[in-house]
């Protein structure tokens, strides 16, 4: 028996709907849910996409660094913050960012003006550095460690400084150091 023409049309429409439904479900399970899991790692969008890296946003972590930061232990994260402070903020003359990273009490005690801080860092730190870290000591929410700062390709005596770091969130930290 031949199927009526209209029924064929309806069947085609419903088949298309079903295919669309399957596509939606596939998207749901393959794209949306995995992305949601990914979202658990990507709490914040405070990083630079790998193809947007430039000197203007050198102070921000790249996408890869951001993921690595969230998977790192306490000690590695603190090392990262100190490297960010010295290499990225000061090394690339982003002094305002470096000044903002200082704890309020530390600013008040030693660098009550931005100019004082700039003058200090320009005198104190080389532009290209090699950092090495001593043992880290945790005191409550504070981390204390000695950092050796060497200038690349230089015979100058390395600088040894004690850093105190407080981590508020990923890539959100307050810093103080022995002056």
């Amino acid at each position: 028996m031949k199927r009526p023409k209209n029924e064929n049309k309806i069947l085609i429409i419903i088949s298309i709907c079903l295919i669309l439904l399957i596509i939606i479900l596939t998207c749901l399970f393959q794209i949306i849910i995995p992305n949601m899991k990914k979202d658990e790692t990507y709490v914040s969008e405070d990083f630079v996409k790998n193809d947007d890296l430039s000197l203007d946003n050198i102070h921000m972590p790249s996408e890869g660094e951001w993921i690595k930061l969230q998977l790192s232990g306490e000690e590695s994260r603190i090392h990262y913050y100190i490297a960010t402070f010295i290499d990225r903020y000061i090394g690339y003359s982003k002094y305002e960012l470096a000044y903002d990273a200082l704890s309020e009490g530390f600013k008040k005690n030693y660098f009550d003006t931005y100019e004082k801080f700039v003058s200090y860092v320009e005198q104190k730190y080389p532009k290209s550095t090699i950092l090495s870290y001593g043992d880290i000591q945790r005191e409550g929410e504070l981390y204390i460690l000695e950092v050796t700062i060497e200038e690349v390709f230089s015979n100058e005596e390395p600088i040894k400084q004690t850093f105190v770091v407080k981590e508020n969130d990923f890539n959100d930290f307050e810093i103080a150091f022995s002056v």
Binding site: I14, M36, G73, R77, F106, G140, V164
Partner: protein, 306 residues
């Protein structure tokens, strides 16, 4: 035309209704699942190793979660008062037990000796036993404001805050004294009386106040420098000697000696003190310090159950 379409839909529905219903159900389940997973999503925060309310000595007993915030608030108010030299306010936050044995003048001197400059503090639950929570508090300069400038290492004063829980009430004290209670235990005969009158529990020791009365015309030697192991605290499976070896307990005729005996014992070691033993009590006609035990008129071994 419309009629044809309606008929076609009806026929299609009759033929495929189960498949369509199943497909709809699957779709709904998927949507619900998606919503549920969204609800379960939790923000990620940096992993930390600082847990101020987790005991570092023993995790058998924990500080109930509902008390962690009141404890933090108490610490904040207390140490802020100390920083601001509000002695009376800080003193009144302490337990009656503390206030009964320490005057506000003593407390003020103590606070002045620690809070000579603005200090911060770090708390760490140390040990918990029978609704008593011990916190070690490191009191130090605000190193996030100094960067440890001019210091080779972190300097701090460690204070023990004892928190006693009675139902939902918490009382706080400082100064290492965990508990203090009156004791009424004694041994006596016609020659002497030894009475234990008080017990102070500290984290690492127990201190007993003992009164020894000499009822004779002779000299009673309970302990002397040469034989400091003759007074012990019996803990059942183990005995503890007197802490300190230079304790003379020599009681002249018809007189009384009141002394505090300190024994090493950790608050959370799981043992209870059973007795104090005076194992070499001697009565001498005269005592110059170099007499041998054989010269004693009488010798006793006395045990006072606690």
């Amino acid at each position: 035309m419309l009629l044809n379409i309606r008929l076609s839909i009806r026929r299609f529905w009759q033929k495929h209704k189960y498949k369509v219903v199943i497909a709809l159900i699957v779709w709904l389940i998927a949507i619900l699942l998606n919503q549920m997973l969204k609800q379960l999503r939790t923000p990620v925060t940096p992993s930390k190793s600082y847990f101020p309310h987790e005991s570092i000595m023993d995790t058998k007993e924990e500080v109930p979660e509902k008390f962690t915030q009141p404890i933090e608030e108490w610490m904040d108010t207390f140490f802020t008062s100390c920083n601001n030299k509000n002695y009376e306010e800080a003193y009144n936050m302490l337990s009656d037990e503390y206030k009964n044995s320490n005057t506000i003048e003593y407390f003020q001197k103590y606070i002045d000796s620690i809070f000579d400059t603005d200090k911060t503090y770090i708390i760490q639950n140390y040990s918990n036993k029978e609704n008593i929570y011990l916190y070690k508090v490191k009191i130090m300069d605000d190193i996030l404001s100094t960067g440890l400038t001019g210091k080779d290492e972190l300097e701090y004063v460690e204070e023990i805050v004892t928190i006693k829980r009675d139902g939902n009430d918490l009382t706080f004290s400082i100064g290492n004294n965990i508990t203090e209670e009156a004791v009424d235990k004694a041994y006596e005969n016609e020659h002497l009386k030894i009475a234990v009158t008080n017990k102070e529990v500290r984290y690492d020791s127990e201190i007993y106040t003992v009164e020894i009365s000499n009822r004779t015309d002779y000299v009673i030697v309970v302990n002397n420098f040469a034989n400091s192991e003759s007074v012990v605290l019996d803990l059942g499976d183990v005995q503890r000697n007197l802490a300190g070896t230079d304790i003379d307990m020599i009681i002249e005729p018809e007189s009384k000696l009141r002394i505090k005996l300190k024994f090493s014992k950790f608050f959370d070691d799981g043992r209870d003190a059973k007795a104090i033993k005076f194992e070499n009590v001697r009565i001498f006609e005269e005592y110059l310090g170099d007499e041998s035990d054989d010269e004693a008129l009488r010798k006793y071994s006395i045990k006072i159950d606690l």
